[in-house]
């Protein structure tokens, strides 16, 4: 029983720590709030599967885009625009 509990605990922490290991530059909720409605900031909702279908909400003004199709939609934006992507 103890071994099983230990294995489960290790598994739980490995699973969650992997999810938290984000390496991309991030923007806080308050920072984003200040940019809402700006032409220079484009918010892209790249959630897919259950991440998309289970959620009730979408950030105001966000555009849906497939994360796997970046080559296609990235052409629609200029370099002076800030692209904010959210995936969860």
């Amino acid at each position: 029983m103890k071994r099983i509990l230990l294995l489960l605990s290790i598994f739980f922490f490995v699973g969650t720590s992997q999810l938290m290991a984000a390496d991309a530059p991030t923007m806080s909720k308050d920072e984003l709030k200040g940019h809402l409605g700006s032409d220079k900031v484009v918010i892209l909702d790249v959630r897919s599967g259950r991440d998309w279908s289970s959620s009730e909400f979408m950030i105001q003004g966000a555009i849906r885009a497939a994360g796997s199709d970046i080559a296609t939609w990235s052409k629609n934006y200029t370099k002076d625009q800030t692209l904010v992507l959210y995936c969860a």
């Binding site: 029983m1 099983i4 509990l5 294995l7 489960l8 598994f11 739980f12 490995v14 699973g15 969650t16 992997q18 999810l19 959630r47 897919s48 599967g49 259950r50 991440d51 998309w52 279908s53 289970s54 959620s55 009730e56 909400f57 995936c87 969860a88």
Partner: protein, 412 residues
Amino acid sequence: MNPPLLMSLALGCGWLFSPEAMVMAGNSTGYLGWLAIPLLALAALIFSFNVNTINKALQSDTQSSELTLLKKSIGTIPAGALTIASSFPLLILAATALLVTSGYTFNEVFLYWFPNFGFAFLLLGLLTLLQFLPLKQVYKTQLFFVGLAGLGIFFLGVYGSLNPAKSMGTIFQIPQHISEGGLSSALLLLLFAGSNLFQGKKSGFPHVALIALLVLLPWMFASLAHVNPERLASSTIPFMTASRKIMGDTGRQIMGIVVIMGSCAAFTGFTLLCRQKLAELSQEKMAPRFLAKEGQRWLLPPLTAIAVGACMATGLAGDERLELLLRSALLLWLLYYCTVSFAAIASIKAEKSLPSITPFFAPLILSTGLVTILLSSSHPLELLKFIVFLLVASSFLAMLLVFINPKKKDAL
């Protein structure tokens, strides 16, 4: 009510009150309009015919199970393969989908700051630990999950039906996209597949079907009375849309509890179903003897937790393919029940001649539903490929289990 009845209700209703089943019920209501209500009652009737046929075949032998019926009818390896393919992948895939949905619901309805995946992993850990408790405690907890989920749906359904936002004429209008309702009617059959497992060997209208009608019919009517059918049909979370329209933020919170409790109930119900399948395989000498009783408790829940955790951590929840895989697993479940039903008819027929062709109707309708769902899918070939893959893999596993068993002669 005596405990066995409560137990059978708690286990049988686990899937019925899950968010997955609620999506199917909601989308079907959107496509079919009020016609979904009599069609759900028809699906319950077909289900009860099926249960009675299977139970009639099982009553002749106290030691028999669905697996023994299948073995007699299609042979040991195919029977084992179908049992494995229809239950274990469904547990893993449904659990992944349900836990992720619960994570989002908890995050969006109750605590914005709590990570959705964190909640999904937390729930996975707690539900796994629950399986290590004595079976009686597991049943009691399951009763709590199902009771709370069922009460929530029933309350919102009755409240919404008594306070409709539309006139009766509008509610009873036939939706414009009724032509797309074939798939939706067939999906209603999926709500009941497998719920008879814990019914026991009694004949009569199954209590699970009665409870399902009592809880889901008012809910479907209330959804129609508050939300446009087009919105219900296209929504990925029709239960949330309807509950918000019925009772505002309070409705969302009640539905939030329903989603989490329903997910817990479905997870626990599927795990117990798989434990029962392991016991059946073991009793038929198709799996090691220790899996017949206590062994399953120590083996299945940790392995399930590892598999579901791996699916979530590797991003399957965010992958469009999860829906396809889950639909394949559900179709295998339906295939299993069609086959068991035909096997039951063959078993009864072998003992005494059947007076009519009536018993064939239920499995024939289930088979038609299965083919309809498969063909109406946007990716029928992909669905079929995964079903075949699971059947082939399970056949190899069944062969392996039989041939490494020292008592393989008894199994064959």
